[in-house]
Protein backbone atom coordinates (compact mmCIF):
# COMPACT_ATOMS: atom_id res chain seq x y z
CA UNK A 1 0.00 0.00 0.00
CA UNK A 2 1.90 3.01 -1.21
CA UNK A 3 1.02 6.57 -0.42
CA UNK A 4 2.54 9.91 -1.22
CA UNK A 5 3.70 12.04 1.64
CA UNK A 6 5.15 15.50 1.83
CA UNK A 7 8.58 15.64 3.39
CA UNK A 8 10.35 18.87 4.20
CA UNK A 9 14.14 18.55 4.15
CA UNK A 10 16.78 21.11 5.06
CA UNK A 11 18.98 21.91 2.06
CA UNK A 12 22.02 24.12 2.12
CA UNK A 13 25.07 24.89 4.17
CA UNK A 14 25.77 26.90 7.31
CA UNK A 15 25.49 30.30 5.66
CA UNK A 16 22.50 29.86 3.46
CA UNK A 17 19.90 27.24 3.28
CA UNK A 18 16.29 26.55 3.87
CA UNK A 19 13.46 24.08 3.61
CA UNK A 20 12.68 22.20 0.45
CA UNK A 21 9.46 20.23 0.10
CA UNK A 22 9.41 16.85 -1.62
CA UNK A 23 6.41 14.73 -2.45
CA UNK A 24 7.62 11.14 -2.05
CA UNK A 25 6.04 7.76 -2.38
CA UNK A 26 6.25 5.69 0.80
CA UNK A 27 5.86 1.94 1.00
CA UNK A 28 4.68 0.03 4.01
CA UNK A 29 7.40 -0.63 6.58
CA UNK A 30 9.71 2.09 5.33
CA UNK A 31 11.78 4.35 7.53
CA UNK A 32 12.77 7.99 7.14
CA UNK A 33 16.13 6.98 5.68
CA UNK A 34 14.34 5.07 2.88
CA UNK A 35 12.41 8.22 2.07
CA UNK A 36 15.56 10.31 2.02
CA UNK A 37 17.13 7.73 -0.31
CA UNK A 38 14.13 7.86 -2.59
CA UNK A 39 14.40 11.64 -2.75
CA UNK A 40 18.06 11.22 -3.60
CA UNK A 41 17.31 8.64 -6.28
CA UNK A 42 14.39 10.39 -7.92
CA UNK A 43 14.50 14.12 -7.27
CA UNK A 44 17.69 15.42 -5.68
CA UNK A 45 20.80 13.38 -6.53
CA UNK A 46 22.94 15.97 -4.77
CA UNK A 47 21.19 15.61 -1.39
CA UNK A 48 23.94 14.98 1.18
CA UNK A 49 23.22 12.38 3.85
CA UNK A 50 25.47 10.16 5.95
CA UNK A 51 24.52 6.56 6.66
CA UNK A 52 26.02 3.08 6.73
CA UNK A 53 24.26 0.14 8.31
CA UNK A 54 20.56 0.98 8.13
CA UNK A 55 20.19 -1.21 11.18
CA UNK A 56 20.62 1.26 14.03
CA UNK A 57 24.09 0.03 14.81
CA UNK A 58 26.62 2.30 13.12
CA UNK A 59 25.30 5.58 14.50
CA UNK A 60 25.81 7.50 11.25
CA UNK A 61 22.33 8.61 10.26
CA UNK A 62 21.54 10.92 13.18
CA UNK A 63 19.27 13.83 12.30
CA UNK A 64 16.42 15.84 13.74
CA UNK A 65 13.04 14.58 12.65
CA UNK A 66 10.19 16.90 13.54
CA UNK A 67 12.63 18.58 15.87
CA UNK A 68 13.52 15.39 17.75
CA UNK A 69 17.04 13.97 17.53
CA UNK A 70 16.66 10.46 16.10
CA UNK A 71 18.29 7.87 13.87
CA UNK A 72 16.72 8.15 10.42
CA UNK A 73 17.04 4.43 9.89
CA UNK A 74 15.13 3.59 13.07
CA UNK A 75 12.27 6.04 12.58
CA UNK A 76 9.41 4.29 10.86
CA UNK A 77 7.15 6.32 8.62
CA UNK A 78 4.03 4.92 10.27
CA UNK A 79 5.03 6.87 13.37
CA UNK A 80 3.52 9.93 11.75
CA UNK A 81 -0.19 10.53 11.58
CA UNK A 82 -1.58 10.80 8.03
CA UNK A 83 -1.13 14.35 6.85
CA UNK A 84 1.26 15.25 9.69
CA UNK A 85 4.03 17.51 8.41
CA UNK A 86 7.42 15.77 8.44
CA UNK A 87 10.63 17.77 8.67
CA UNK A 88 14.14 16.38 8.48
CA UNK A 89 16.96 18.67 9.62
CA UNK A 90 20.64 18.16 10.38
CA UNK A 91 21.83 17.98 13.99
CA UNK A 92 21.91 21.49 15.35
CA UNK A 93 24.85 21.26 17.74
CA UNK A 94 27.55 20.56 15.15
CA UNK A 95 28.89 22.72 12.33
CA UNK A 96 26.92 22.04 9.19
CA UNK A 97 28.77 20.61 6.22
CA UNK A 98 25.85 20.38 3.84
CA UNK A 99 22.19 19.36 3.87
CA UNK A 100 21.90 16.61 6.52
CA UNK A 101 25.62 16.13 7.06
CA UNK A 102 27.32 17.75 10.05
CA UNK A 103 30.90 17.80 11.26
CA UNK A 104 30.91 15.74 14.47
CA UNK A 105 34.66 15.95 15.05
CA UNK A 106 34.09 17.66 18.43
CA UNK A 107 33.28 14.19 19.67
CA UNK A 108 36.41 12.56 18.31
CA UNK A 109 38.57 15.29 19.79
CA UNK A 110 36.84 14.94 23.15
CA UNK A 111 37.30 11.16 23.07
CA UNK A 112 41.06 11.64 22.79
CA UNK A 113 41.17 13.54 26.09
CA UNK A 114 39.93 10.58 28.12
CA UNK A 115 42.75 8.36 29.41
CA UNK A 116 42.39 4.80 28.16
CA UNK A 117 41.73 1.73 30.27
CA UNK A 118 44.75 0.99 32.45
CA UNK A 119 44.46 -2.46 34.05
CA UNK A 120 46.23 -3.51 37.21
CA UNK A 121 48.91 -6.20 36.77
CA UNK A 122 47.56 -9.65 35.86
CA UNK A 123 47.35 -12.49 38.34
CA UNK A 124 50.28 -14.90 38.79
CA UNK A 125 49.19 -17.08 35.86
CA UNK A 126 49.18 -14.08 33.55
CA UNK A 127 45.39 -13.72 33.38
CA UNK A 128 42.98 -11.08 34.56
CA UNK A 129 39.76 -12.29 36.15
CA UNK A 130 36.54 -10.39 36.61
CA UNK A 131 33.16 -11.41 37.94
CA UNK A 132 30.05 -10.84 35.86
CA UNK A 133 28.40 -8.83 38.64
CA UNK A 134 31.32 -6.40 38.62
CA UNK A 135 31.19 -5.59 34.92
CA UNK A 136 27.44 -5.60 34.40
CA UNK A 137 27.14 -1.84 34.80
CA UNK A 138 29.82 -1.25 32.20
CA UNK A 139 28.14 -3.56 29.73
CA UNK A 140 25.15 -1.27 29.53
CA UNK A 141 27.49 1.57 28.61
CA UNK A 142 29.24 -0.46 25.93
CA UNK A 143 26.01 -0.61 23.95
CA UNK A 144 26.76 2.97 22.86
CA UNK A 145 26.88 3.28 19.05
CA UNK A 146 28.32 6.80 19.08
CA UNK A 147 25.43 8.33 17.20
CA UNK A 148 26.01 11.54 19.23
CA UNK A 149 22.29 12.19 19.49
CA UNK A 150 22.68 12.67 23.23
CA UNK A 151 25.45 15.17 22.58
CA UNK A 152 23.25 16.93 20.05
CA UNK A 153 20.22 17.28 22.32
CA UNK A 154 22.16 18.39 25.39
CA UNK A 155 21.23 22.01 26.01
CA UNK A 156 24.58 22.70 27.67
CA UNK A 157 26.26 22.83 24.26
CA UNK A 158 23.24 22.90 21.96
CA UNK A 159 22.06 26.28 23.22
CA UNK A 160 25.42 27.50 24.53
CA UNK A 161 28.14 26.66 22.00
CA UNK A 162 30.72 28.49 24.13
CA UNK A 163 30.47 25.65 26.64
CA UNK A 164 32.00 23.22 24.16
CA UNK A 165 35.41 24.17 25.54
CA UNK A 166 34.42 23.14 29.06
CA UNK A 167 32.00 20.25 28.63
CA UNK A 168 32.51 16.74 27.29
CA UNK A 169 28.83 15.81 27.03
CA UNK A 170 26.70 12.82 28.01
CA UNK A 171 28.34 10.31 25.68
CA UNK A 172 31.64 10.90 27.39
CA UNK A 173 30.14 10.76 30.86
CA UNK A 174 28.98 7.31 29.81
CA UNK A 175 32.55 6.50 28.81
CA UNK A 176 34.02 7.98 32.00
CA UNK A 177 31.53 6.09 34.16
CA UNK A 178 32.32 2.86 32.35
CA UNK A 179 36.04 3.23 32.98
CA UNK A 180 35.69 4.54 36.54
CA UNK A 181 33.46 1.62 37.55
CA UNK A 182 35.71 -0.96 35.94
CA UNK A 183 36.95 -3.47 38.53
CA UNK A 184 40.43 -3.77 36.98
CA UNK A 185 41.10 -0.18 36.00
CA UNK A 186 43.66 1.82 37.98
CA UNK A 187 43.49 5.22 36.30
CA UNK A 188 41.86 8.10 38.18
CA UNK A 189 39.61 10.27 36.00
CA UNK A 190 37.57 12.10 38.63
CA UNK A 191 39.55 15.32 38.41
CA UNK A 192 39.08 15.18 34.65
CA UNK A 193 35.35 14.55 35.07
CA UNK A 194 34.98 17.57 37.32
CA UNK A 195 37.38 20.09 35.82
CA UNK A 196 37.82 19.35 32.11
CA UNK A 197 34.74 17.30 31.26
CA UNK A 198 32.52 19.62 33.33
CA UNK A 199 30.10 17.10 34.77
CA UNK A 200 28.84 19.96 36.96
CA UNK A 201 27.38 21.69 33.90
CA UNK A 202 24.85 18.93 33.50
CA UNK A 203 21.60 19.76 35.29
CA UNK A 204 20.26 16.21 34.94
CA UNK A 205 17.30 17.27 32.83
CA UNK A 206 17.61 13.88 31.12
CA UNK A 207 17.17 14.77 27.45
CA UNK A 208 20.18 12.60 26.62
CA UNK A 209 18.42 9.61 28.14
CA UNK A 210 15.24 10.43 26.22
CA UNK A 211 16.93 10.34 22.82
CA UNK A 212 19.43 7.48 23.25
CA UNK A 213 18.54 4.85 20.62
CA UNK A 214 20.31 2.19 22.68
CA UNK A 215 18.17 3.04 25.72
CA UNK A 216 21.20 3.57 27.89
CA UNK A 217 20.11 5.09 31.19
CA UNK A 218 22.65 7.83 30.66
CA UNK A 219 21.55 10.11 33.47
CA UNK A 220 20.60 7.60 36.14
CA UNK A 221 23.35 5.07 35.61
CA UNK A 222 26.27 7.14 34.34
CA UNK A 223 25.97 10.87 35.07
CA UNK A 224 24.44 10.79 38.53
CA UNK A 225 26.86 8.10 39.78
CA UNK A 226 29.68 10.19 38.31
CA UNK A 227 28.39 13.31 40.05
CA UNK A 228 28.22 11.33 43.29
CA UNK A 229 31.80 10.12 42.88
CA UNK A 230 32.94 13.67 42.20
CA UNK A 231 31.01 14.79 45.29
CA UNK A 232 32.78 12.08 47.34
CA UNK A 233 36.11 13.54 46.36
CA UNK A 234 35.47 17.28 46.23
CA UNK A 235 32.27 18.19 48.00
CA UNK A 236 32.07 15.94 51.00
CA UNK A 237 34.00 17.30 53.99
CA UNK A 238 33.21 14.25 56.09
CA UNK A 239 34.69 11.89 53.52
CA UNK A 240 37.59 14.23 53.04
CA UNK A 241 38.30 14.12 56.76
CA UNK A 242 37.86 10.35 56.80
CA UNK A 243 40.38 10.09 54.00
CA UNK A 244 42.85 12.26 55.88
CA UNK A 245 42.44 10.26 59.10
CA UNK A 246 42.19 6.72 57.78
CA UNK A 247 43.64 6.92 54.29
CA UNK A 248 41.75 6.64 51.05
CA UNK A 249 40.38 3.26 50.17
CA UNK A 250 39.63 2.26 46.62
CA UNK A 251 38.04 -1.16 46.57
Amino acid sequence: MNETVNVRVFRGDAESGGWRDYAVEVEEGQVVLDVIHRIQATQAPDLAVRWNCKAGKCGSCSAEINGQPRLMCMTRMNLFAPGEPITVAPMKTWPLVRDLVTDVSFNYETAKTIPAFKPRPPEADGFWRMQQEDIERGQEFRKCIECFLCQDVCHVIRDHPANKAAFAGPRFFVRLAELEMHPLDTEDRLELARRDAGVGYCNITKCCTEVCPENIHITDNAIIPLKERVADRYFDPVRWLGGKLFGRRRP
Binding site: G18, P85, G200, Y201, T205, P225, D232
Partner: protein, 266 residues
Protein backbone atom coordinates in the same frame (compact mmCIF):
# COMPACT_ATOMS: atom_id res chain seq x y z
CA UNK B 1 32.68 35.41 15.00
CA UNK B 2 29.58 36.83 13.41
CA UNK B 3 28.37 34.22 11.03
CA UNK B 4 25.15 34.08 9.13
CA UNK B 5 23.16 31.02 10.06
CA UNK B 6 20.46 29.55 7.93
CA UNK B 7 17.12 30.41 9.50
CA UNK B 8 15.98 26.85 10.33
CA UNK B 9 19.16 26.27 12.34
CA UNK B 10 19.09 29.36 14.54
CA UNK B 11 19.30 29.16 18.29
CA UNK B 12 17.25 31.05 20.83
CA UNK B 13 14.74 30.81 23.64
CA UNK B 14 11.89 28.42 22.75
CA UNK B 15 13.35 27.86 19.28
CA UNK B 16 12.41 24.39 18.16
CA UNK B 17 11.33 22.37 15.17
CA UNK B 18 9.10 20.21 17.35
CA UNK B 19 5.43 20.49 16.63
CA UNK B 20 4.14 18.08 19.23
CA UNK B 21 2.71 19.50 22.44
CA UNK B 22 6.05 19.59 24.26
CA UNK B 23 4.85 22.34 26.61
CA UNK B 24 2.16 20.16 28.24
CA UNK B 25 4.53 18.31 30.56
CA UNK B 26 6.45 21.34 31.90
CA UNK B 27 3.18 23.25 32.29
CA UNK B 28 1.58 20.41 34.27
CA UNK B 29 4.66 20.06 36.44
CA UNK B 30 4.71 23.81 37.05
CA UNK B 31 1.08 23.92 38.10
CA UNK B 32 1.23 20.77 40.26
CA UNK B 33 4.45 21.67 42.05
CA UNK B 34 3.22 25.21 42.70
CA UNK B 35 -0.08 23.92 44.06
CA UNK B 36 1.38 21.20 46.28
CA UNK B 37 4.28 23.21 47.67
CA UNK B 38 2.06 26.27 47.95
CA UNK B 39 -0.36 24.31 50.10
CA UNK B 40 2.41 22.78 52.23
CA UNK B 41 3.96 26.22 52.81
CA UNK B 42 0.58 27.55 53.91
CA UNK B 43 0.05 24.47 56.06
CA UNK B 44 3.26 25.04 58.00
CA UNK B 45 1.99 28.32 59.40
CA UNK B 46 -1.76 27.66 59.36
CA UNK B 47 -2.90 27.13 62.94
CA UNK B 48 -5.88 29.48 62.80
CA UNK B 49 -8.99 29.84 60.73
CA UNK B 50 -11.49 27.19 59.64
CA UNK B 51 -8.73 24.62 58.97
CA UNK B 52 -6.48 25.67 61.84
CA UNK B 53 -6.42 22.38 63.78
CA UNK B 54 -3.97 19.87 62.42
CA UNK B 55 -4.44 17.22 65.10
CA UNK B 56 -7.69 15.45 65.91
CA UNK B 57 -8.31 16.01 69.60
CA UNK B 58 -8.04 13.01 71.87
CA UNK B 59 -6.37 10.88 69.18
CA UNK B 60 -2.99 10.45 67.54
CA UNK B 61 -4.32 11.56 64.18
CA UNK B 62 -1.79 14.27 63.43
CA UNK B 63 -1.04 15.81 60.06
CA UNK B 64 2.25 14.29 58.86
CA UNK B 65 3.52 17.78 58.07
CA UNK B 66 3.83 18.21 61.82
CA UNK B 67 5.58 14.97 62.68
CA UNK B 68 7.22 14.07 64.97
CA UNK B 69 4.66 14.48 67.72
CA UNK B 70 7.04 14.63 70.66
CA UNK B 71 8.52 17.75 69.11
CA UNK B 72 5.06 19.24 68.78
CA UNK B 73 4.69 18.66 72.52
CA UNK B 74 7.95 20.39 73.42
CA UNK B 75 6.99 23.05 70.99
CA UNK B 76 4.33 24.45 73.27
CA UNK B 77 7.17 26.49 74.81
CA UNK B 78 8.89 27.42 71.55
CA UNK B 79 5.68 28.67 70.16
CA UNK B 80 5.16 31.14 72.99
CA UNK B 81 8.74 32.25 72.72
CA UNK B 82 9.33 32.79 69.00
CA UNK B 83 6.09 31.74 67.43
CA UNK B 84 7.72 28.92 65.65
CA UNK B 85 5.43 26.45 63.94
CA UNK B 86 6.21 22.86 64.93
CA UNK B 87 6.15 22.13 61.20
CA UNK B 88 9.33 24.12 60.78
CA UNK B 89 11.02 20.86 61.63
CA UNK B 90 10.30 19.81 58.04
CA UNK B 91 12.54 22.65 56.93
CA UNK B 92 15.65 20.85 58.16
CA UNK B 93 14.82 17.48 56.61
CA UNK B 94 12.11 16.85 54.04
CA UNK B 95 12.13 20.28 52.36
CA UNK B 96 15.86 20.48 51.50
CA UNK B 97 15.76 16.78 50.65
CA UNK B 98 13.18 17.39 47.96
CA UNK B 99 14.74 20.67 46.88
CA UNK B 100 18.06 18.99 46.08
CA UNK B 101 16.58 15.66 44.89
CA UNK B 102 17.86 14.64 41.47
CA UNK B 103 14.32 14.09 40.23
CA UNK B 104 12.91 17.37 41.51
CA UNK B 105 15.92 19.14 40.04
CA UNK B 106 15.03 17.76 36.64
CA UNK B 107 11.43 18.87 37.18
CA UNK B 108 12.09 22.43 38.27
CA UNK B 109 15.06 23.11 36.00
CA UNK B 110 12.70 22.34 33.15
CA UNK B 111 9.45 23.85 34.41
CA UNK B 112 10.63 26.86 36.42
CA UNK B 113 14.12 27.66 35.11
CA UNK B 114 13.16 26.71 31.51
CA UNK B 115 16.67 25.39 31.17
CA UNK B 116 15.65 23.73 28.91
CA UNK B 117 11.82 23.86 28.86
CA UNK B 118 11.78 20.56 26.97
CA UNK B 119 14.25 18.52 24.94
CA UNK B 120 15.46 20.26 21.79
CA UNK B 121 13.58 23.43 22.75
CA UNK B 122 15.74 26.55 23.22
CA UNK B 123 17.09 27.28 26.70
CA UNK B 124 16.08 30.55 28.38
CA UNK B 125 19.48 31.34 29.93
CA UNK B 126 21.75 33.53 27.77
CA UNK B 127 24.80 31.93 29.34
CA UNK B 128 24.84 28.78 31.33
CA UNK B 129 27.13 27.10 33.86
CA UNK B 130 24.69 24.65 35.39
CA UNK B 131 25.70 23.13 38.68
CA UNK B 132 29.37 23.89 38.24
CA UNK B 133 29.19 27.23 40.09
CA UNK B 134 27.66 28.74 43.21
CA UNK B 135 24.78 28.61 44.07
CA UNK B 136 23.79 25.46 42.21
CA UNK B 137 27.02 23.70 43.12
CA UNK B 138 25.38 23.38 46.55
CA UNK B 139 23.20 20.63 45.07
CA UNK B 140 26.16 18.39 45.86
CA UNK B 141 25.03 18.53 49.49
CA UNK B 142 22.09 16.27 48.62
CA UNK B 143 23.71 13.35 50.46
CA UNK B 144 23.70 15.26 53.74
CA UNK B 145 20.01 16.08 53.62
CA UNK B 146 19.43 12.48 52.59
CA UNK B 147 20.99 11.34 55.89
CA UNK B 148 18.61 13.66 57.74
CA UNK B 149 15.65 12.53 55.65
CA UNK B 150 16.41 8.91 56.58
CA UNK B 151 15.66 9.81 60.21
CA UNK B 152 12.16 10.88 59.20
CA UNK B 153 11.30 7.43 57.88
CA UNK B 154 11.00 5.76 61.32
CA UNK B 155 9.55 8.95 62.80
CA UNK B 156 6.68 8.92 60.31
CA UNK B 157 6.11 5.20 60.78
CA UNK B 158 5.92 5.69 64.56
CA UNK B 159 3.41 8.49 64.01
CA UNK B 160 1.38 6.33 61.64
CA UNK B 161 1.36 3.31 63.97
CA UNK B 162 0.39 5.48 66.94
CA UNK B 163 -2.59 6.74 64.98
CA UNK B 164 -4.09 3.24 65.13
CA UNK B 165 -4.40 3.73 68.89
CA UNK B 166 -6.82 6.08 70.58
CA UNK B 167 -6.11 6.84 74.25
CA UNK B 168 -8.80 5.33 76.44
CA UNK B 169 -10.31 3.30 73.60
CA UNK B 170 -7.47 1.08 72.49
CA UNK B 171 -6.42 -0.14 69.06
CA UNK B 172 -8.59 0.22 66.02
CA UNK B 173 -8.54 1.33 62.44
CA UNK B 174 -9.88 4.27 60.49
CA UNK B 175 -9.45 5.97 57.13
CA UNK B 176 -7.19 8.60 58.70
CA UNK B 177 -4.83 6.07 60.23
CA UNK B 178 -4.70 4.07 56.99
CA UNK B 179 -3.84 7.25 55.10
CA UNK B 180 -1.05 7.99 57.56
CA UNK B 181 0.38 4.52 57.03
CA UNK B 182 0.20 5.00 53.25
CA UNK B 183 1.96 8.32 53.67
CA UNK B 184 4.72 6.75 55.76
CA UNK B 185 5.14 3.97 53.19
CA UNK B 186 5.40 6.35 50.23
CA UNK B 187 7.80 8.64 52.04
CA UNK B 188 9.93 5.61 52.88
CA UNK B 189 9.96 4.47 49.26
CA UNK B 190 10.79 7.95 48.07
CA UNK B 191 13.73 8.10 50.49
CA UNK B 192 14.90 4.54 49.81
CA UNK B 193 14.95 5.16 46.06
CA UNK B 194 17.20 8.24 46.34
CA UNK B 195 20.13 8.42 43.91
CA UNK B 196 22.53 9.50 46.65
CA UNK B 197 21.46 6.57 48.79
CA UNK B 198 22.03 4.27 45.82
CA UNK B 199 25.56 5.58 45.58
CA UNK B 200 26.06 5.41 49.35
CA UNK B 201 24.98 1.78 49.76
CA UNK B 202 27.09 0.39 46.95
CA UNK B 203 27.18 2.48 43.79
CA UNK B 204 30.56 3.90 44.77
CA UNK B 205 32.20 0.46 44.72
CA UNK B 206 34.11 -0.80 41.71
CA UNK B 207 34.27 -4.38 42.90
CA UNK B 208 31.11 -5.95 44.26
CA UNK B 209 32.53 -9.45 44.51
CA UNK B 210 35.68 -8.63 46.48
CA UNK B 211 34.53 -9.44 50.02
CA UNK B 212 31.53 -10.55 52.04
CA UNK B 213 30.98 -6.89 52.96
CA UNK B 214 30.92 -5.67 49.35
CA UNK B 215 28.70 -8.59 48.35
CA UNK B 216 26.23 -7.59 51.05
CA UNK B 217 26.34 -4.00 49.84
CA UNK B 218 25.72 -5.20 46.30
CA UNK B 219 22.52 -6.90 47.44
CA UNK B 220 21.28 -3.69 49.03
CA UNK B 221 22.40 -1.74 45.95
CA UNK B 222 20.33 -4.08 43.77
CA UNK B 223 17.22 -3.24 45.78
CA UNK B 224 17.86 0.49 45.84
CA UNK B 225 18.54 0.37 42.08
CA UNK B 226 15.21 -1.34 41.52
CA UNK B 227 13.32 1.22 43.60
CA UNK B 228 15.36 4.00 42.03
CA UNK B 229 13.84 3.25 38.63
CA UNK B 230 10.55 4.42 40.12
CA UNK B 231 12.02 7.49 41.84
CA UNK B 232 9.83 9.87 39.89
CA UNK B 233 6.73 7.88 40.80
CA UNK B 234 7.65 7.84 44.50
CA UNK B 235 8.45 11.55 44.39
CA UNK B 236 5.03 12.44 43.01
CA UNK B 237 2.93 9.92 44.90
CA UNK B 238 4.48 10.79 48.26
CA UNK B 239 3.98 14.50 47.58
CA UNK B 240 0.37 14.06 46.49
CA UNK B 241 -0.44 11.86 49.48
CA UNK B 242 1.14 14.10 52.11
CA UNK B 243 -0.95 17.00 50.80
CA UNK B 244 -4.07 14.83 50.69
CA UNK B 245 -3.51 13.52 54.23
CA UNK B 246 -2.87 17.00 55.56
CA UNK B 247 -6.11 18.24 54.03
CA UNK B 248 -8.03 15.18 55.24
CA UNK B 249 -6.84 15.38 58.84
CA UNK B 250 -7.52 19.10 58.97
CA UNK B 251 -11.06 18.50 57.72
CA UNK B 252 -11.61 15.89 60.44
CA UNK B 253 -9.89 17.95 63.13
CA UNK B 254 -11.99 20.99 62.35
CA UNK B 255 -15.25 19.08 62.29
CA UNK B 256 -16.02 19.47 58.59
CA UNK B 257 -16.08 15.70 58.03
CA UNK B 258 -16.09 12.56 60.20
CA UNK B 259 -13.40 9.94 59.94
CA UNK B 260 -15.00 6.50 59.35
CA UNK B 261 -13.34 4.28 61.94
CA UNK B 262 -13.83 1.57 64.57
CA UNK B 263 -13.70 3.90 67.57
CA UNK B 264 -16.81 5.40 69.09
CA UNK B 265 -15.82 9.07 69.30
CA UNK B 266 -15.16 11.69 66.58
Amino acid sequence: MAQAVAAPLRRGFLTTLRHDRWWVEPALVFVSLSLFFGWLTASIVMDWGPFGNYEVEGTHLLSPVFEPTWLTAINADWKGAWYLSPAFIVLIGPVPFRATCYYYRRAYYRSYFLSPPACAVGDVAPSYRGESRFPLIMQNAHRYVMYVALVFVPLLWIGAIRSFHVPGEGWGIGIGSVLLALNAFLLMMYTFSCHSLRHFVGGGLNCFSCSAWTRARKRVWDYVSLWNEGHRFWAWSSLLVIVAVDVYIRLVANGQITDPNTWSRF
